[in-house]
Protein backbone atom coordinates (compact mmCIF):
# COMPACT_ATOMS: atom_id res chain seq x y z
CA UNK A 1 0.00 0.00 0.00
CA UNK A 2 1.46 3.35 -1.02
CA UNK A 3 1.63 5.92 1.73
CA UNK A 4 0.15 9.29 0.84
CA UNK A 5 0.57 11.06 4.17
CA UNK A 6 3.45 10.68 6.61
CA UNK A 7 3.44 12.38 9.99
CA UNK A 8 6.66 11.80 11.87
CA UNK A 9 7.02 12.81 15.53
CA UNK A 10 5.25 16.09 14.95
CA UNK A 11 4.87 18.65 17.72
CA UNK A 12 3.15 22.00 17.30
CA UNK A 13 2.97 24.53 20.07
CA UNK A 14 1.29 27.88 20.16
CA UNK A 15 3.24 29.68 22.84
CA UNK A 16 2.87 27.54 25.94
CA UNK A 17 -0.03 25.53 24.54
CA UNK A 18 0.98 22.29 22.90
CA UNK A 19 -1.67 21.63 20.28
CA UNK A 20 -0.02 18.43 19.04
CA UNK A 21 2.64 16.47 20.91
CA UNK A 22 4.85 13.89 19.22
CA UNK A 23 2.23 12.52 16.88
CA UNK A 24 3.29 9.96 14.28
CA UNK A 25 1.23 8.03 11.79
CA UNK A 26 1.04 7.18 8.13
CA UNK A 27 -2.00 7.08 5.93
CA UNK A 28 -2.14 4.84 2.90
CA UNK A 29 -4.06 4.77 -0.34
CA UNK A 30 -7.61 3.56 -0.04
CA UNK A 31 -7.83 4.12 3.70
CA UNK A 32 -10.87 5.73 5.27
CA UNK A 33 -9.61 7.04 8.57
CA UNK A 34 -11.60 8.68 11.33
CA UNK A 35 -9.79 11.21 13.45
CA UNK A 36 -11.63 11.61 16.71
CA UNK A 37 -11.07 13.60 19.86
CA UNK A 38 -12.81 16.31 21.80
CA UNK A 39 -12.51 19.99 20.94
CA UNK A 40 -8.93 21.15 21.21
CA UNK A 41 -7.51 17.64 20.93
CA UNK A 42 -5.44 18.67 17.90
CA UNK A 43 -7.54 17.34 15.01
CA UNK A 44 -7.78 20.63 13.14
CA UNK A 45 -4.15 21.44 13.92
CA UNK A 46 -3.07 18.15 12.31
CA UNK A 47 -5.01 18.93 9.15
CA UNK A 48 -3.60 22.45 8.97
CA UNK A 49 -0.11 21.02 9.36
CA UNK A 50 -0.73 18.66 6.45
CA UNK A 51 -1.79 21.64 4.33
CA UNK A 52 1.18 23.81 5.28
CA UNK A 53 -1.12 26.44 6.73
CA UNK A 54 0.98 26.19 9.87
CA UNK A 55 4.47 24.82 10.36
CA UNK A 56 5.38 22.14 12.91
CA UNK A 57 7.55 23.16 15.88
CA UNK A 58 9.40 19.90 15.37
CA UNK A 59 9.03 16.72 13.37
CA UNK A 60 8.38 16.22 9.69
CA UNK A 61 5.35 15.91 7.46
CA UNK A 62 4.99 14.61 3.94
CA UNK A 63 1.81 14.84 1.91
CA UNK A 64 1.70 13.42 -1.62
CA UNK A 65 5.47 13.80 -1.85
CA UNK A 66 5.47 17.45 -0.75
CA UNK A 67 6.85 18.95 2.38
CA UNK A 68 4.02 21.39 3.15
CA UNK A 69 6.04 23.25 5.81
CA UNK A 70 8.51 24.32 3.13
CA UNK A 71 5.71 25.77 1.01
CA UNK A 72 5.69 22.96 -1.55
CA UNK A 73 2.26 22.63 -3.10
CA UNK A 74 2.43 20.60 -6.31
CA UNK A 75 0.60 17.72 -4.65
CA UNK A 76 -2.26 19.93 -3.56
CA UNK A 77 -3.75 19.58 -7.02
CA UNK A 78 -4.78 16.11 -5.89
CA UNK A 79 -5.87 17.11 -2.44
CA UNK A 80 -9.31 18.11 -1.28
CA UNK A 81 -9.91 19.95 1.96
CA UNK A 82 -13.07 20.89 3.75
CA UNK A 83 -12.38 23.15 6.72
CA UNK A 84 -14.51 23.23 9.82
CA UNK A 85 -16.91 26.20 9.43
CA UNK A 86 -16.15 26.60 5.76
CA UNK A 87 -16.74 30.08 4.36
CA UNK A 88 -16.81 31.60 0.90
CA UNK A 89 -16.87 35.05 -0.66
CA UNK A 90 -20.44 36.16 -0.05
CA UNK A 91 -20.67 38.23 -3.23
CA UNK A 92 -20.06 35.36 -5.64
CA UNK A 93 -22.41 32.55 -6.59
CA UNK A 94 -21.69 28.88 -5.94
CA UNK A 95 -21.10 28.29 -9.65
CA UNK A 96 -18.58 31.12 -9.88
CA UNK A 97 -16.81 29.91 -6.77
CA UNK A 98 -16.71 26.30 -7.93
CA UNK A 99 -15.41 27.34 -11.38
CA UNK A 100 -12.66 29.43 -9.78
CA UNK A 101 -11.51 26.55 -7.61
CA UNK A 102 -11.62 24.11 -10.52
CA UNK A 103 -9.39 26.42 -12.56
CA UNK A 104 -6.92 26.70 -9.70
CA UNK A 105 -6.67 22.91 -9.72
CA UNK A 106 -6.50 22.84 -13.54
CA UNK A 107 -9.56 20.62 -13.65
CA UNK A 108 -12.38 20.86 -16.21
CA UNK A 109 -14.90 23.42 -15.02
CA UNK A 110 -17.94 21.60 -16.44
CA UNK A 111 -17.25 18.49 -14.38
CA UNK A 112 -16.72 20.56 -11.27
CA UNK A 113 -20.07 22.26 -11.84
CA UNK A 114 -21.76 18.86 -12.06
CA UNK A 115 -20.66 18.26 -8.50
CA UNK A 116 -22.93 21.10 -7.39
CA UNK A 117 -25.90 19.06 -8.56
CA UNK A 118 -24.46 15.95 -6.96
CA UNK A 119 -24.45 17.64 -3.54
CA UNK A 120 -27.97 18.89 -4.16
CA UNK A 121 -27.37 22.62 -4.57
CA UNK A 122 -29.22 22.58 -7.86
CA UNK A 123 -30.76 25.88 -8.86
CA UNK A 124 -29.52 27.63 -5.71
CA UNK A 125 -26.02 27.45 -7.21
CA UNK A 126 -26.83 30.53 -9.27
CA UNK A 127 -27.56 32.59 -6.18
CA UNK A 128 -25.04 34.59 -4.18
CA UNK A 129 -23.46 32.61 -1.37
CA UNK A 130 -24.35 35.42 1.01
CA UNK A 131 -27.95 34.16 0.90
CA UNK A 132 -27.05 30.56 1.81
CA UNK A 133 -27.86 28.65 4.98
CA UNK A 134 -25.17 26.80 6.90
CA UNK A 135 -26.19 23.50 5.33
CA UNK A 136 -25.95 24.92 1.82
CA UNK A 137 -22.50 26.33 2.47
CA UNK A 138 -21.49 22.92 3.78
CA UNK A 139 -22.74 21.32 0.56
CA UNK A 140 -20.67 23.75 -1.48
CA UNK A 141 -17.74 22.98 0.80
CA UNK A 142 -18.07 19.31 -0.05
CA UNK A 143 -18.44 20.01 -3.74
CA UNK A 144 -15.21 22.00 -3.85
CA UNK A 145 -13.33 19.35 -1.88
CA UNK A 146 -14.35 16.71 -4.44
CA UNK A 147 -13.10 18.65 -7.50
CA UNK A 148 -10.93 16.50 -9.74
CA UNK A 149 -10.06 13.07 -8.43
CA UNK A 150 -8.53 13.82 -5.07
CA UNK A 151 -5.97 11.29 -3.85
CA UNK A 152 -6.11 12.74 -0.36
CA UNK A 153 -9.24 14.16 1.23
CA UNK A 154 -9.02 16.02 4.51
CA UNK A 155 -12.48 16.63 5.90
CA UNK A 156 -12.88 18.53 9.14
CA UNK A 157 -16.31 17.88 10.65
CA UNK A 158 -17.82 17.26 7.22
CA UNK A 159 -21.31 16.23 8.24
CA UNK A 160 -22.28 19.06 10.58
CA UNK A 161 -25.27 20.88 9.17
CA UNK A 162 -26.10 18.18 6.62
CA UNK A 163 -29.49 16.55 6.65
CA UNK A 164 -29.61 12.75 7.07
CA UNK A 165 -30.24 12.09 3.42
CA UNK A 166 -27.25 14.06 2.25
CA UNK A 167 -25.17 12.52 5.01
CA UNK A 168 -25.87 9.11 3.49
CA UNK A 169 -24.94 10.35 0.00
CA UNK A 170 -21.82 11.93 1.42
CA UNK A 171 -20.65 8.70 3.05
CA UNK A 172 -21.40 6.79 -0.15
CA UNK A 173 -19.28 9.23 -2.15
CA UNK A 174 -16.28 9.10 0.15
CA UNK A 175 -16.54 5.32 0.47
CA UNK A 176 -16.42 5.09 -3.32
CA UNK A 177 -13.42 7.42 -3.49
CA UNK A 178 -11.63 5.37 -0.84
CA UNK A 179 -12.34 2.17 -2.74
CA UNK A 180 -10.81 3.81 -5.81
CA UNK A 181 -7.63 4.43 -3.86
CA UNK A 182 -8.08 7.83 -2.25
CA UNK A 183 -6.97 8.45 1.31
CA UNK A 184 -9.81 9.94 3.32
CA UNK A 185 -9.14 11.46 6.71
CA UNK A 186 -12.21 12.78 8.42
CA UNK A 187 -12.71 14.21 11.84
CA UNK A 188 -16.09 14.09 13.44
CA UNK A 189 -18.05 14.08 16.63
CA UNK A 190 -20.70 11.81 15.19
CA UNK A 191 -19.02 8.63 16.35
CA UNK A 192 -21.96 6.33 15.68
CA UNK A 193 -21.88 7.34 12.02
CA UNK A 194 -18.20 6.59 11.72
CA UNK A 195 -18.38 3.25 13.44
CA UNK A 196 -19.65 1.33 10.43
CA UNK A 197 -17.66 3.24 7.87
CA UNK A 198 -14.17 4.01 9.06
CA UNK A 199 -11.64 1.30 8.38
CA UNK A 200 -9.33 2.85 10.90
CA UNK A 201 -9.69 5.14 13.87
CA UNK A 202 -7.13 7.54 15.32
CA UNK A 203 -8.00 8.91 18.75
CA UNK A 204 -6.38 12.12 19.91
CA UNK A 205 -6.40 13.51 23.43
CA UNK A 206 -4.81 16.84 24.32
CA UNK A 207 -2.53 16.72 21.32
CA UNK A 208 -1.38 13.15 21.92
CA UNK A 209 -2.34 10.19 19.78
CA UNK A 210 -3.78 7.71 22.27
CA UNK A 211 -5.07 4.99 19.96
CA UNK A 212 -4.74 4.03 16.32
CA UNK A 213 -6.19 1.00 14.58
CA UNK A 214 -9.27 -0.62 13.14
CA UNK A 215 -12.31 -0.78 15.40
CA UNK A 216 -11.73 -4.49 15.97
CA UNK A 217 -8.15 -3.84 17.00
CA UNK A 218 -9.25 -1.09 19.34
CA UNK A 219 -11.87 -3.39 20.88
CA UNK A 220 -9.23 -6.01 21.44
CA UNK A 221 -6.86 -3.49 23.01
CA UNK A 222 -9.52 -1.92 25.15
CA UNK A 223 -10.83 -5.27 26.45
CA UNK A 224 -14.16 -3.64 27.10
CA UNK A 225 -16.94 -6.11 27.90
CA UNK A 226 -19.46 -7.05 25.26
CA UNK A 227 -22.97 -6.60 26.56
CA UNK A 228 -25.27 -9.58 26.17
CA UNK A 229 -28.87 -8.57 26.58
CA UNK A 230 -31.41 -11.33 27.08
CA UNK A 231 -35.13 -11.14 27.19
CA UNK A 232 -36.20 -13.48 29.93
CA UNK A 233 -39.75 -14.39 30.89
CA UNK A 234 -41.09 -15.56 34.20
CA UNK A 235 -38.78 -13.68 36.51
CA UNK A 236 -39.66 -11.31 39.29
CA UNK A 237 -38.54 -7.73 38.59
CA UNK A 238 -35.30 -7.96 40.58
CA UNK A 239 -34.65 -11.63 40.50
CA UNK A 240 -31.55 -12.88 38.73
CA UNK A 241 -31.83 -16.11 36.76
CA UNK A 242 -30.17 -19.11 38.33
CA UNK A 243 -27.71 -19.54 35.48
CA UNK A 244 -26.37 -15.99 35.81
CA UNK A 245 -22.60 -16.18 36.26
CA UNK A 246 -21.31 -15.12 39.63
CA UNK A 247 -18.06 -13.71 38.22
CA UNK A 248 -19.59 -11.33 35.62
CA UNK A 249 -21.54 -8.17 36.14
CA UNK A 250 -25.27 -8.74 35.61
CA UNK A 251 -28.10 -6.31 35.88
CA UNK A 252 -31.81 -6.15 35.24
CA UNK A 253 -33.26 -3.67 32.79
CA UNK A 254 -36.88 -2.53 32.88
CA UNK A 255 -38.30 -5.80 34.20
CA UNK A 256 -37.81 -7.96 31.11
CA UNK A 257 -34.14 -7.87 30.28
CA UNK A 258 -31.05 -9.27 31.86
CA UNK A 259 -27.82 -7.64 30.78
CA UNK A 260 -24.46 -9.30 31.26
CA UNK A 261 -21.10 -7.62 30.75
CA UNK A 262 -19.03 -10.32 29.12
CA UNK A 263 -15.28 -10.17 28.78
CA UNK A 264 -14.34 -10.75 25.14
CA UNK A 265 -13.10 -14.31 25.60
CA UNK A 266 -16.10 -15.42 27.72
CA UNK A 267 -18.72 -14.21 25.29
CA UNK A 268 -19.47 -17.58 23.70
CA UNK A 269 -19.38 -19.45 26.98
CA UNK A 270 -21.89 -17.09 28.56
CA UNK A 271 -24.16 -17.31 25.56
CA UNK A 272 -24.11 -21.09 25.75
CA UNK A 273 -24.91 -20.99 29.40
CA UNK A 274 -27.80 -18.60 29.00
CA UNK A 275 -29.44 -20.41 26.13
CA UNK A 276 -28.90 -23.96 27.40
CA UNK A 277 -31.16 -26.08 29.62
CA UNK A 278 -34.39 -24.70 28.29
CA UNK A 279 -34.01 -21.41 30.12
CA UNK A 280 -36.82 -18.97 29.58
CA UNK A 281 -34.77 -16.80 27.21
CA UNK A 282 -36.91 -15.39 24.43
CA UNK A 283 -34.47 -13.10 22.66
CA UNK A 284 -30.77 -12.31 22.59
CA UNK A 285 -28.87 -9.20 21.59
CA UNK A 286 -25.10 -9.07 21.55
CA UNK A 287 -23.79 -5.50 21.69
CA UNK A 288 -20.07 -5.05 21.16
CA UNK A 289 -18.50 -1.94 22.68
CA UNK A 290 -19.41 1.05 20.53
CA UNK A 291 -16.97 3.60 19.24
CA UNK A 292 -18.33 5.98 21.87
CA UNK A 293 -17.36 3.58 24.61
CA UNK A 294 -13.98 2.84 23.06
CA UNK A 295 -13.32 6.53 22.76
CA UNK A 296 -14.23 7.14 26.40
CA UNK A 297 -12.08 4.20 27.42
CA UNK A 298 -8.98 5.41 25.62
CA UNK A 299 -9.43 8.93 26.94
CA UNK A 300 -9.71 7.63 30.52
CA UNK A 301 -6.67 5.46 30.00
CA UNK A 302 -4.59 8.32 28.66
CA UNK A 303 -5.58 10.54 31.56
CA UNK A 304 -4.37 8.00 34.13
CA UNK A 305 -0.70 8.36 34.97
CA UNK A 306 0.80 5.00 34.04
Amino acid sequence: MTKTVRICDVTKDYGSVKAVRGASFELGEGELVALIGHNGAGKTTLMKLMLGLIRPSSGSIEVLGDNPAAGEFAGRRQLGYLPENVSFEAALTARETQAFYARLKREPVAKALDLLDAVGLGSASRRRIGTYSKGMRQRLGLAQALIGRPRVLLLDEPTTGLDPELRQTFYDVIARLASEGATVLLSSHALTELEERAGRVIIMNRGVKVADGSIEELRRLARLPTRIRLKVSGLAPHEMPAWAPADAICRRLNGHFVEIDAAPERKIELLHRATALGNSVEDVDVIPPTLDELYAHFLRQSEQPS
Binding site: F73, A74, P83, S87, L92, E96, Q144
Partner: protein, 275 residues
Protein backbone atom coordinates in the same frame (compact mmCIF):
# COMPACT_ATOMS: atom_id res chain seq x y z
CA UNK B 1 -1.64 31.81 -14.46
CA UNK B 2 -2.69 31.51 -10.82
CA UNK B 3 -1.93 35.19 -10.35
CA UNK B 4 -4.23 36.17 -13.18
CA UNK B 5 -7.03 33.91 -11.94
CA UNK B 6 -6.90 35.49 -8.54
CA UNK B 7 -6.75 38.97 -10.05
CA UNK B 8 -9.81 38.18 -12.17
CA UNK B 9 -11.68 36.95 -9.10
CA UNK B 10 -10.83 40.11 -7.17
CA UNK B 11 -12.08 42.29 -10.02
CA UNK B 12 -15.22 40.21 -10.29
CA UNK B 13 -15.85 40.61 -6.56
CA UNK B 14 -15.16 44.34 -6.66
CA UNK B 15 -17.71 44.75 -9.43
CA UNK B 16 -20.24 42.61 -7.54
CA UNK B 17 -19.65 44.49 -4.29
CA UNK B 18 -20.06 47.77 -6.17
CA UNK B 19 -16.59 48.90 -5.15
CA UNK B 20 -15.83 49.77 -8.76
CA UNK B 21 -19.05 51.72 -9.12
CA UNK B 22 -18.58 53.60 -5.86
CA UNK B 23 -14.95 54.53 -6.53
CA UNK B 24 -15.68 55.60 -10.10
CA UNK B 25 -18.70 57.68 -9.15
CA UNK B 26 -16.83 59.34 -6.31
CA UNK B 27 -13.83 60.25 -8.45
CA UNK B 28 -15.95 61.29 -11.45
CA UNK B 29 -18.29 63.39 -9.32
CA UNK B 30 -15.51 65.25 -7.58
CA UNK B 31 -13.50 65.64 -10.77
CA UNK B 32 -16.49 67.09 -12.61
CA UNK B 33 -17.40 69.48 -9.86
CA UNK B 34 -13.80 70.65 -9.51
CA UNK B 35 -13.55 71.09 -13.27
CA UNK B 36 -16.53 73.38 -13.45
CA UNK B 37 -16.69 75.00 -10.05
CA UNK B 38 -12.93 75.14 -9.68
CA UNK B 39 -12.52 77.31 -12.76
CA UNK B 40 -14.87 79.97 -11.38
CA UNK B 41 -12.16 82.12 -9.75
CA UNK B 42 -9.93 82.15 -12.84
CA UNK B 43 -12.72 82.46 -15.36
CA UNK B 44 -12.63 80.80 -18.73
CA UNK B 45 -11.17 83.49 -20.91
CA UNK B 46 -7.65 83.11 -22.08
CA UNK B 47 -6.69 80.73 -19.31
CA UNK B 48 -5.48 77.28 -20.03
CA UNK B 49 -8.39 75.55 -18.39
CA UNK B 50 -6.99 72.03 -18.43
CA UNK B 51 -3.85 73.10 -16.57
CA UNK B 52 -6.00 74.55 -13.82
CA UNK B 53 -7.95 71.29 -13.71
CA UNK B 54 -4.72 69.33 -13.37
CA UNK B 55 -3.70 71.40 -10.38
CA UNK B 56 -7.00 70.95 -8.61
CA UNK B 57 -7.41 67.29 -9.56
CA UNK B 58 -3.96 66.32 -8.39
CA UNK B 59 -4.67 67.96 -5.05
CA UNK B 60 -7.89 65.94 -4.91
CA UNK B 61 -6.00 62.77 -5.81
CA UNK B 62 -3.60 63.23 -2.91
CA UNK B 63 -6.50 63.00 -0.49
CA UNK B 64 -8.77 60.57 -2.21
CA UNK B 65 -6.72 57.95 -4.04
CA UNK B 66 -4.68 56.90 -0.99
CA UNK B 67 -7.90 56.68 1.00
CA UNK B 68 -9.63 54.47 -1.56
CA UNK B 69 -6.49 52.35 -1.97
CA UNK B 70 -6.19 51.78 1.78
CA UNK B 71 -9.91 51.04 2.08
CA UNK B 72 -9.64 48.30 -0.54
CA UNK B 73 -6.35 46.85 0.65
CA UNK B 74 -6.36 46.93 4.46
CA UNK B 75 -8.80 44.02 4.52
CA UNK B 76 -7.08 41.91 1.84
CA UNK B 77 -5.17 39.50 4.06
CA UNK B 78 -6.35 39.87 7.63
CA UNK B 79 -9.98 40.20 6.56
CA UNK B 80 -9.91 37.03 4.49
CA UNK B 81 -8.26 35.25 7.37
CA UNK B 82 -10.96 36.40 9.77
CA UNK B 83 -13.73 35.38 7.43
CA UNK B 84 -12.04 32.03 6.90
CA UNK B 85 -11.89 32.25 3.12
CA UNK B 86 -8.08 32.39 3.14
CA UNK B 87 -7.93 28.97 4.80
CA UNK B 88 -9.64 27.33 1.87
CA UNK B 89 -7.80 29.31 -0.80
CA UNK B 90 -4.41 28.36 0.62
CA UNK B 91 -5.33 24.68 0.61
CA UNK B 92 -5.33 24.95 -3.19
CA UNK B 93 -2.20 24.64 -5.30
CA UNK B 94 -1.24 28.31 -5.14
CA UNK B 95 1.74 29.97 -3.49
CA UNK B 96 1.08 32.75 -1.04
CA UNK B 97 3.01 35.29 -3.10
CA UNK B 98 0.74 34.42 -6.03
CA UNK B 99 -2.30 35.18 -3.90
CA UNK B 100 -0.82 38.53 -2.88
CA UNK B 101 0.29 39.50 -6.37
CA UNK B 102 -3.05 38.46 -7.84
CA UNK B 103 -4.92 40.57 -5.33
CA UNK B 104 -2.58 43.47 -6.04
CA UNK B 105 -3.20 43.33 -9.78
CA UNK B 106 -6.93 43.01 -9.22
CA UNK B 107 -7.18 45.89 -6.79
CA UNK B 108 -4.90 48.06 -8.88
CA UNK B 109 -7.04 47.42 -11.97
CA UNK B 110 -10.11 48.53 -10.06
CA UNK B 111 -8.37 51.69 -8.94
CA UNK B 112 -6.92 52.40 -12.38
CA UNK B 113 -10.32 51.90 -13.98
CA UNK B 114 -11.99 54.28 -11.56
CA UNK B 115 -9.27 56.91 -11.97
CA UNK B 116 -9.12 56.78 -15.75
CA UNK B 117 -12.86 56.82 -16.17
CA UNK B 118 -13.53 59.39 -13.47
CA UNK B 119 -10.86 61.84 -14.57
CA UNK B 120 -11.36 61.06 -18.24
CA UNK B 121 -14.97 62.15 -17.85
CA UNK B 122 -13.77 65.49 -16.57
CA UNK B 123 -11.62 66.08 -19.63
CA UNK B 124 -14.38 64.89 -21.90
CA UNK B 125 -16.83 67.27 -20.29
CA UNK B 126 -14.32 70.10 -20.59
CA UNK B 127 -13.79 69.42 -24.28
CA UNK B 128 -17.53 69.10 -24.85
CA UNK B 129 -18.22 72.47 -23.28
CA UNK B 130 -15.66 74.14 -25.53
CA UNK B 131 -12.68 74.47 -23.24
CA UNK B 132 -9.42 74.85 -25.09
CA UNK B 133 -7.11 71.87 -24.78
CA UNK B 134 -3.69 71.72 -26.37
CA UNK B 135 -1.32 68.78 -26.65
CA UNK B 136 0.98 69.91 -23.84
CA UNK B 137 -1.85 70.09 -21.38
CA UNK B 138 -3.27 66.79 -22.53
CA UNK B 139 0.12 65.17 -22.04
CA UNK B 140 0.34 66.61 -18.55
CA UNK B 141 -3.16 65.29 -17.86
CA UNK B 142 -2.30 61.78 -19.01
CA UNK B 143 0.82 61.92 -16.87
CA UNK B 144 -1.36 62.99 -13.96
CA UNK B 145 -3.65 60.00 -14.40
CA UNK B 146 -0.66 57.66 -14.72
CA UNK B 147 1.02 58.97 -11.60
CA UNK B 148 -2.29 58.86 -9.72
CA UNK B 149 -2.50 55.14 -10.47
CA UNK B 150 1.09 54.75 -9.31
CA UNK B 151 0.25 56.61 -6.10
CA UNK B 152 -2.70 54.25 -5.68
CA UNK B 153 -0.39 51.27 -6.22
CA UNK B 154 1.92 52.53 -3.46
CA UNK B 155 -0.94 52.80 -1.00
CA UNK B 156 -2.44 49.45 -1.99
CA UNK B 157 0.96 47.90 -1.25
CA UNK B 158 1.23 49.76 2.07
CA UNK B 159 -2.27 48.57 2.97
CA UNK B 160 -1.24 44.95 2.26
CA UNK B 161 1.80 45.27 4.45
CA UNK B 162 -0.37 46.45 7.34
CA UNK B 163 -2.92 43.75 6.57
CA UNK B 164 -0.24 41.06 6.59
CA UNK B 165 1.21 42.20 9.90
CA UNK B 166 -1.73 42.81 12.21
CA UNK B 167 -3.96 40.37 14.03
CA UNK B 168 -7.44 41.68 13.28
CA UNK B 169 -9.29 43.85 10.81
CA UNK B 170 -10.06 46.61 13.27
CA UNK B 171 -6.40 47.17 13.97
CA UNK B 172 -5.62 47.21 10.25
CA UNK B 173 -8.33 49.82 9.64
CA UNK B 174 -7.12 51.95 12.55
CA UNK B 175 -3.51 51.89 11.46
CA UNK B 176 -4.49 52.70 7.87
CA UNK B 177 -6.52 55.73 8.92
CA UNK B 178 -3.65 56.91 11.10
CA UNK B 179 -1.17 56.43 8.30
CA UNK B 180 -3.41 58.27 5.86
CA UNK B 181 -3.71 61.25 8.21
CA UNK B 182 0.02 61.23 8.77
CA UNK B 183 1.13 61.01 5.16
CA UNK B 184 -1.58 63.12 3.60
CA UNK B 185 -2.12 65.87 6.15
CA UNK B 186 0.25 65.99 9.07
CA UNK B 187 3.52 65.32 7.27
CA UNK B 188 3.34 68.39 5.03
CA UNK B 189 2.19 70.66 7.82
CA UNK B 190 5.01 69.47 10.03
CA UNK B 191 7.48 69.86 7.20
CA UNK B 192 6.31 73.40 6.53
CA UNK B 193 6.52 74.23 10.21
CA UNK B 194 10.03 72.87 10.49
CA UNK B 195 11.15 74.75 7.38
CA UNK B 196 9.62 78.00 8.60
CA UNK B 197 11.27 77.67 11.99
CA UNK B 198 14.61 76.67 10.52
CA UNK B 199 14.76 79.59 8.08
CA UNK B 200 17.17 77.62 5.88
CA UNK B 201 19.92 77.56 8.49
CA UNK B 202 20.33 73.84 9.16
CA UNK B 203 18.21 71.99 6.66
CA UNK B 204 20.10 71.58 3.40
CA UNK B 205 18.49 71.12 0.01
CA UNK B 206 19.52 67.46 0.06
CA UNK B 207 17.82 66.93 3.40
CA UNK B 208 14.67 68.58 2.11
CA UNK B 209 14.74 66.35 -0.96
CA UNK B 210 15.09 63.30 1.23
CA UNK B 211 12.15 64.44 3.32
CA UNK B 212 10.03 64.97 0.24
CA UNK B 213 10.92 61.56 -1.18
CA UNK B 214 10.14 59.79 2.05
CA UNK B 215 6.46 60.53 1.61
CA UNK B 216 4.83 59.07 -1.50
CA UNK B 217 2.21 61.82 -1.63
CA UNK B 218 4.92 64.47 -1.81
CA UNK B 219 6.65 62.63 -4.61
CA UNK B 220 3.31 62.56 -6.42
CA UNK B 221 2.70 66.25 -5.76
CA UNK B 222 6.08 67.20 -7.14
CA UNK B 223 5.63 65.11 -10.29
CA UNK B 224 2.40 66.83 -11.16
CA UNK B 225 2.92 70.35 -9.88
CA UNK B 226 6.48 70.86 -11.00
CA UNK B 227 6.92 68.35 -13.79
CA UNK B 228 5.22 70.47 -16.42
CA UNK B 229 6.17 74.14 -16.83
CA UNK B 230 2.67 75.41 -17.59
CA UNK B 231 1.13 73.59 -14.69
CA UNK B 232 3.71 74.70 -12.17
CA UNK B 233 2.94 78.34 -12.95
CA UNK B 234 -0.65 77.82 -11.91
CA UNK B 235 0.27 75.70 -8.95
CA UNK B 236 2.41 78.48 -7.52
CA UNK B 237 5.17 75.93 -7.41
CA UNK B 238 7.36 77.46 -10.12
CA UNK B 239 9.82 78.65 -7.51
CA UNK B 240 10.15 75.25 -5.94
CA UNK B 241 10.32 73.62 -9.36
CA UNK B 242 13.42 75.61 -10.17
CA UNK B 243 15.13 75.07 -6.85
CA UNK B 244 14.56 71.37 -6.39
CA UNK B 245 16.91 68.93 -8.02
CA UNK B 246 14.32 66.17 -7.96
CA UNK B 247 13.59 65.31 -11.55
CA UNK B 248 10.51 63.44 -12.71
CA UNK B 249 12.37 60.12 -13.23
CA UNK B 250 13.76 60.29 -9.67
CA UNK B 251 10.28 60.98 -8.33
CA UNK B 252 8.81 58.12 -10.36
CA UNK B 253 11.46 55.77 -9.03
CA UNK B 254 10.63 56.92 -5.52
CA UNK B 255 6.94 56.10 -6.08
CA UNK B 256 7.87 52.77 -7.59
CA UNK B 257 9.98 51.96 -4.53
CA UNK B 258 7.05 52.97 -2.36
CA UNK B 259 5.10 50.25 -4.19
CA UNK B 260 7.64 47.46 -4.51
CA UNK B 261 9.21 47.59 -1.06
CA UNK B 262 5.94 47.39 0.93
CA UNK B 263 4.67 44.73 -1.49
CA UNK B 264 7.81 42.66 -1.00
CA UNK B 265 7.63 43.05 2.77
CA UNK B 266 3.94 42.15 2.72
CA UNK B 267 4.74 38.96 0.76
CA UNK B 268 7.42 38.11 3.29
CA UNK B 269 5.16 38.73 6.29
CA UNK B 270 2.32 36.79 4.68
CA UNK B 271 4.53 33.81 3.85
CA UNK B 272 5.56 33.54 7.51
CA UNK B 273 2.07 33.86 8.86
CA UNK B 274 0.26 30.93 10.38
CA UNK B 275 -3.46 30.59 10.12
Amino acid sequence: MNVLMIAAKEIHQAIRNRWVLAATLLLAGLALSLTFLGSAPTGNVGVRTLDVVIVSLSSLTIFLVPLIALLISHDAIVGEMERGTMLLLLSYPVARWQVLLGKFLGHLSVLAFATCLGYGLAVGALAATGGQIDTDSLLAFVAMIGSSVLLGAAFVAIGYLISALVRDRGTAAGICIGLWLLLVLIYDMALLGVLALDQGRNISAAALNAMLLSNPTDAYRLINLTGFANVSTFAGMAGLAQSTSLTVPVLLIALLCWTLVPLGLAALAFSRREL
